[in-house]
Amino acid sequence: MDTVLELRALVKNFPGHRAVDNVSLSLSRGGFYSLLGPSGCGKTTTLRMIGGFETPDSGQVLLAGNVVNNLKPWQRNVSTVFQNYALFPHLTALANVEFGLRERGDADRREQALRALDLVELSAKRDRLPAQLSGGEKQRVALARSLVLAPQLLLLDEPLAALDPKLRKQMRAELKAVQRRTGITFLFVTHDQEEALSLSDKLAVMNAGRIEQFDTPETVYLRPATAFVAGFLGAINWFGSTGVRPESTRITRQKPSDVPCRRGAIESALFMGNCVHVNTALDTGGRAVAEVPRDQHDFKEGEPVWISWAPSDELNFEVAS
């Protein structure tokens, strides 16, 4: 597979701190990729350097093998879906989608724009102004406006963050479907681990300006490279420098044999619908959470229990956080 984007040792400093610290990354054509990290980790700054809105202090951005560090946004064949959508408020949905095509001077821009609106199922509202569209509809116009230009790479800056939770899940599925249908490479920035895990072919976890791990969702979740990655992608119980996911943590009344275990007491139980999150206080100090199937939960608050796990479920790191 050919490489559509390559970042080489990218560095960006802002007054007082280093926003992006030696980031290298290579994306193959046609994939769905995510940059995942807490706010302030440098993921948006990285995206803005790819889009041409920030200039790297050092390092290189390569698009299809060419260094584009000095190219302006309008000279790069990438497009961005902005967090607040940035739709032109004085233009209809259709005119918004046509904006880039008109710049390019395409004669059949009307047909192209209509097809793009069709792709995001918004043809019926093509004559509405952005103010007359809902959040999800604005989102689709922004997506169509970028996709219609058939960019080499589509950058999405937390595009689902402004939507309500139900709509967010629906748009998530649509986003993936659109990516598969168009075959355009997506680079999706988010701080939501569930979003990144469910959407991505591969995801890069960023922390403090660096990429801590870049791999498939399965590997990143099951074999996190660092304690930060383990902690950021889902909850984790720490037993010394050993991490165990709540779904791999067992609670029993009898002391289990042949597996590592700790003594503790039930603190509380949170009913989650499909399971119960049982919180325990360890006798050695600290806490642990176990995800227990609904029908197996009959623990009382304050009851002494054993907390155990299978050695194969351990996540071990050199330095525990």
Binding site: G51, G52, F53, K72, P73, W74, V78, S79, T80, F82, N84, A86, L87, F88, P89, H90, F99, G100, E103, R104, R145, S146, L149
Partner: protein, 274 residues
């Protein structure tokens, strides 16, 4: 309680707006006194005299000069406001500079232009000492000088509302335009200009209406040759001692301003602005 609290505002409007307006209305319908002032009988003669082609020409000329001044303010004020809106941390400094002329008297500022424009003024002296002109250019006491004075004095009234509009523009819109392939000039034409319409409307109203009533600038820089409605009204209350005619001209000027303002307020952009 509510009525009591509104009382000062009502009194203020009655005292400083309604009463003077009523007096002007009454004066415009009376006959002139020999030494100024007004006498009975009531008559519509002042309004009839305004229909004279001479006065219509002055009214027309005022509208034309005010339109030109407004257009020039827009032409100069828009780039200036755009520059200030994007000046980052120096924004406030530039805004203060725009307002700096207000620290001196309007009269002093207008006189300063006489020193710049007259035959022995700055421009003519520099040009002739460079050998570029044989005799002084006629820069003062004409429409051009009046226009310069009006634009100079009222430019801040255009820049400030325009700045307010431009500063509110979401920067990500400009980034989105660049991202979609628009070069800076194209972004200006297709995104910034259309979205600045409220600033153009507000700035134009704030410049056009005071220009229409200006009398000091045309008096000093036009040298009496370049008469606008404001000068006509001033003359009626001073040298001509024809208060009814001056009052009638004032009312017509007010009416013209009100009609224009109403037209602007009914327009689409203004409705969006409010």
């Amino acid at each position: 309680m509510r009525r009591a609290l509104l009382l000062p505002a009502r009194l203020w409007i009655a005292l400083f707006f309604a009463a003077p307006l009523a007096i002007i209305c009454a004066y415009s319908l009376l006959t002139r006194g020999d030494y100024g002032g007004v006498e009975t009988p009531w008559t519509l003669e002042s309004f009839a005299r305004l229909a004279d082609p001479l006065y219509l020409a002055i009214l027309w000329r005022s509208l034309w000069i005010s339109t030109l001044a407004t257009a020039l303010c827009a032409l100069l004020g828009f780039p200036l406001a755009l520059f200030i809106a994007r000046a980052g941390r120096h924004k406030n400094l530039y805004l203060q500079l725009v307002l700096l002329p207000f620290w001196t008297s309007f009269l002093v500022r207008t006189y300063a232009w006489i020193f710049i424009l007259r035959d022995t003024g700055l421009i003519n002296t520099v040009l002739s000492s460079l050998g570029l002109i044989a005799k002084p250019l006629p820069l003062l006491y004409n429409d051009g000088a009046v226009l310069i004075g009006l634009v100079y004095n009222f430019l801040p009234f255009f820049v400030l509302p325009m700045f307010a509009t431009l500063e509110r523009l979401d920067p990500s819109l400009m980034e989105a335009a660049a991202d979609l392939g628009a070069r800076p000039l194209s972004t200006l034409r297709r995104v910034i200009l259309p979205l600045s319409a409220p600033g153009f409307v507000a700035g134009a109203v704030l410049v056009f209406i005071p220009c229409l009533g200006a009398y000091l600038t045309p008096d000093l820089l036009g040298g009496g040759k370049s008469v606008m409605v404001g000068n006509l009204i001033q003359n009626q209350f001073t040298t001509a001692r024809d208060w009814p005619f001056g009052s009638a001209a004032s009312l017509i000027l007010m009416l013209a301003s009100a009609v224009l303002l109403a037209a602007v307020m009914r327009s689409r952009t203004a409705r969006e602005l409010i």
